[in-house]
């Protein structure tokens, strides 16, 4: 999984391209999805990425922040990324309108191992905004549906109001080739889905590990218990994939903060098999 640099030699790797916001979707009270297009048609034509890669997005004057690309490389009309409002840069992003410019540099990091997922039954397990990187892969897989076996998507959030990508959840629910399970930690009167934490619901639905791969992303605590639940179900560490989040500044292995042990999330990840990280995950993540 080698990274490729799409910048020209001699150019400044820290200088972003300009992208225009073409659409904003309010996912929840504190989360928005932005649809972006490169201002420069030459860059738009040359740009490519793979599911699981991330980028550095910036609001000039406020700073940069790291988010995965949440759209699929099979749908290259525009790029999407989703932002929960939690700090200075995310606050500034939430204040932007369509037509505004954001800085973009990337794609960075490795990607989901599509070649190793082919022909397999896939179990996607997402929590909260952690669905964003999985969504890129899910769309990618659904756009090449015949290459894969059964698909189970388990997605959870704290409450029905916190579910992101409701339009996707609805579409996957309607898709006869997908088994879609949605759960919330606490439901309300209108809620008809499951109630319960993701790792517990996962054990209830008990997907078979035979010829399967599990791909998970969510808050660190959810990832940790999901890994345990998957092991209980008989998934081996090499059958489990996750994508990790750490604070990053450069995105390209230089600023020195996103490591978990000797692994740098920005350049050795963000996608890891449980096999690669099992010695470190309990310790520093």
């Amino acid at each position: 999984m080698n990274q490729t640099c799409q910048c020209l030699p001699g150019t400044n790797i820290y200088q972003p391209h300009l992208m225009e916001i073409v659409k904003i979707i309010a996912e929840t009270e504190d989360t928005k999805t932005f649809h972006l297009q490169f201002q420069d048609p030459v860059i738009k034509g040359a740009f490519s990425f793979l599911s699981g890669q991330f980028a550095e997005y910036s609001v000039f004057g406020e700073g940069e922040a790291t988010f995965c690309i949440s759209s699929s490389p099979t749908r290259m009309d525009h790029l999407e990324f989703s932002v929960k409002r939690v700090g200075r840069v995310t606050q500034a992003l939430h204040h932007l309108n369509t037509g505004d410019a954001v800085g973009f540099r990337g794609p960075y990091g490795n990607h989901f191992p599509l070649d190793r997922l082919e022909g397999k039954n896939l179990v996607f397990i997402g929590g909260g905004i952690g669905l964003a990187p999985l969504r890129s892969l899910i769309q990618n897989v659904l756009d090449n549906r015949l290459d894969y076996g059964e698909i189970i998507i388990l997605y959870g959030a704290r409450s029905p109001q916190d579910l992101c990508f409701k339009y996707d959840l609805e579409a996957w629910n309607q898709n006869p080739t997908v088994k879609m399970i949605t759960t919330v930690d606490a439901g309300d009167k209108a809620w008809k889905g499951k109630v319960g934490l993701v790792p517990i619901v996962l054990q209830e639905i008990a997907p078979s590990p035979t010829n399967a791969m599990a791909i998970t992303c969510g808050p660190p605590i959810m990832i940790r218990y999901t890994l345990l639940a998957l092991e209980k179900l008989g998934f081996t560490p090499s059958q489990i994939w996750t994508t990790l989040e750490m604070k990053m500044k450069c995105g390209v292995g230089k600023c020195g903060r996103c490591n978990i042990g000797p692994l740098y999330v920005c350049k050795d990840g963000p996608v890891f098999s449980f096999e690669e990280i099992r010695n470190f995950i309990s310790d520093e993540f």
Binding site: S58, K247, G253, C255, G256, G261
Partner: protein, 334 residues
């Protein structure tokens, strides 16, 4: 290749060099040694080492990455004028010269950072042999010979008559060749100019091979790291003084109509270094101290086949609570 130059001819030669390149040398600022622009002054004889390492000449402590203007129309991103023009740094020590090379793979590789390699390419390093062991230093333990260096373009040993130069690179050769102030010297003269180092220890304080061998195993031992980091006050002084600490932050500065994005040195000693909105993987002090030692002696060797420490001793000599890395390494190697 070895050349020598008489005592009285050295400054005239350096003045000639100055006509072709910007020359840096040890200068005293506010009572502390640093590397500053050489203004033809006499050079220090008993210069131990600078307080801040010369890494700042390659990775600036505050460096604009690019700027932008936002007039009425659309925002315009503008590159900053790149630092260019040849430079010569005189007086650099073997440890610091090695550190500058150690950092190179971080800034080259798949995503080459134009700033660091650019600064390296335009700089000629004139190293000087040490005569006194610096306080807190452990260069010997780190396998560095303070009286020789393959990481400089020219390396000098001082003699009562002047200086003997080992010409290491082509860039170094170009600087002295055909110059009438220099005369031929020999390996014998070079060897005989090796002097005793005042204050040098007979026995090493720790065995680096054992540290490298054992640190992966000792990394998960929480009580070890809690014990060795107990008195750390998270001031970050060690990271700013260190010639191989390279971690940085990126931040924006804006005034109406224009702005710039900078990078500045950052420190793994600070909780904010890794703090995310809901989670901080290194909230506890012992994790942050372990990160610093682990980065240098475990992750860096694994990722770049280099130990990211040169034993300059700045972190030992200037730690406000006397946290001694040498003792920590001895403990790790145990």
């Amino acid at each position: 290749m070895y050349k020598k130059i008489g005592r009285e001819k050295f400054l005239p030669w350096l003045s000639r060099v100055k006509t072709q390149a910007q020359v840096f040398a040890p200068v005293r600022e506010n009572g502390l040694w640093t590397y500053g622009e050489w203004k033809n002054q006499d050079l220090p004889e008993s210069f131990l080492n600078s307080r801040l390492s010369p890494k700042g000449l390659f990775l600036e402590s505050l460096e604009p990455l690019f700027g932008w203007t936002s007039p009425a129309g659309p925002l315009q991103v503008k590159p900053v004028p790149s630092s260019s023009g040849p430079r010569v740094i005189f007086g650099i020590k073997a440890c610091d010269a090695r550190a500058i090379r150690i950092l190179e793979p971080v800034f080259s590789g798949n995503f080459p950072d134009g700033f660091y390699p650019g600064n390296l390419a335009r700089t000629i390093l004139l190293g000087v042999a040490c005569r006194v062991q610096c306080p807190g230093s452990f260069c010997g333990e780190m396998g560095i010979d303070p009286q020789d260096s393959a990481n400089c373009d020219i390396f000098f040993r001082e003699t009562p008559q002047g200086r003997i130069a080992k010409i290491v690179t082509g860039k170094g050769k170009d600087l002295v060749e055909g110059n009438d102030l220099w005369v031929e010297s020999s390996q014998e003269e070079w060897e005989s100019a090796r002097k005793e180092i005042k204050g040098r220890r007979e026995k090493p304080l720790f065995d680096l091979e054992k540290v490298k061998d054992r640190i992966a195993r000792r990394f998960p031992e929480e009580d070890l790291w809690q014990r060795v980091s107990a008195k750390c006050i998270n001031c970050g002084a060690c990271t700013y003084l260190c010639p191989t600490c390279h971690c940085f932050d990126i931040c924006d500065l804006q005034v109406p109509g224009r702005g710039a994005r900078f990078r500045c040195w950052d420190s793994c000693a600070y909780p904010s270094f890794t703090r995310m909105p809901v989670h901080n993987p290194r909230e506890e002090k012992w994790r942050r101290y372990r990160q610093r030692v682990g980065h240098k002696f475990y992750f860096y060797p694994q990722n770049f086949q280099l130990v990211a420490c040169v034993g300059c001793g700045r972190c030992v000599a200037h730690c406000p609570v006397n946290l001694d890395l040498r003792e920590v390494l001895l403990e790790v190697a145990r």
